[in-house]
Symmetry: C2
Subunit: 154 residues, 2 copies
Amino acid sequence: MEVSNESYSEVSNRLFFRLFQSANLLHKKGTAAVEEYGVTTQQWSVLGVFYRNQVIEEGGISVGDLSEYLLVSRQSLTGTLDLMLNKKYIKKVTNPRDKRSKLIQITPKGRTLWSNLQLPITEFYQSALEGISFDDQTSILHYLNKIINNMEAM
Amino acid sequence: MEVSNESYSEVSNRLFFRLFQSANLLHKKGTAAVEEYGVTTQQWSVLGVFYRNQVIEEGGISVGDLSEYLLVSRQSLTGTLDLMLNKKYIKKVTNPRDKRSKLIQITPKGRTLWSNLQLPITEFYQSALEGISFDDQTSILHYLNKIINNMEAM
DNA sequence: AAAAATACAGCAATATATTGACATAGATTT
DNA sequence: AAATCTATGTCAATATATTGCTGTATTTTT
């Protein structure tokens, strides 16, 4: 089928417009889903990082590595981490190998919170993905990875 | 194929994590793509609204309708609109039919900006969608619509 | 060994996102 | 007609996002 330039433009415009909107809704509804625990979607993303094998092995993660992994600026991350520090979900220790660097570690309180978050987060995701098969979810993930890789390469 | 609960969780966690990241990159790289014009991705989204048939016919759009269309809060929109007012890309007029309401309209300066933005925006989108066919782009849009509808229904 | 370049985390300014609240205006109920 | 409820846009507080910059520390070059 021949596809006009107008159609291409319309689809890509709509696609990115919806991407923008879906992320806003993800934050709004996701934060509401765990309202009783008083954390935001970004904070739970940070907590999730401590359960990655590499981070467990290294006994924490630096601000720089966390920034790269989450794809947010170090400055934005500092603000989020400060809030989590105040709530005592994480702690910062000086990196023994590099005095410039700090290692972020999860606390026991943070671990308890993470356990408590599993059920509401799972329910939220299941609700958001209602009617989308596992194969389709895998396709979406594949496409998002591709788009992210393309934008990172800019 | 039997899919374990762990796999489901992993895919949905990754999917939403990537959604969060792709939106951040969209704003970062999109704003950089039009850096010479000094507007953000949200501001160009607002400008694009004035070219919708219904908005053209009605001679503008209210803050409330704009908020609903963009899926952002009225309060966030007020801030973005104020910046665009200062730059004189838009103007506000009292709604003749409802004194509480204001109609937002694009200015000639805003129209010139919108014209100038078309090429860099198109190039940005094309680059971000490199290697993704038109049919696949249509699929992504379909999935995003579905996820948005699901989250709106929460 | 000393100088230069780079890395790390955070400060500052700015933009955008949320929720709760408020003053004014319109719609509905009594 | 008056009272009550709902709608509209903005104010305020807070969270998170960016870029540019800075002080300190490490690495690389001379």
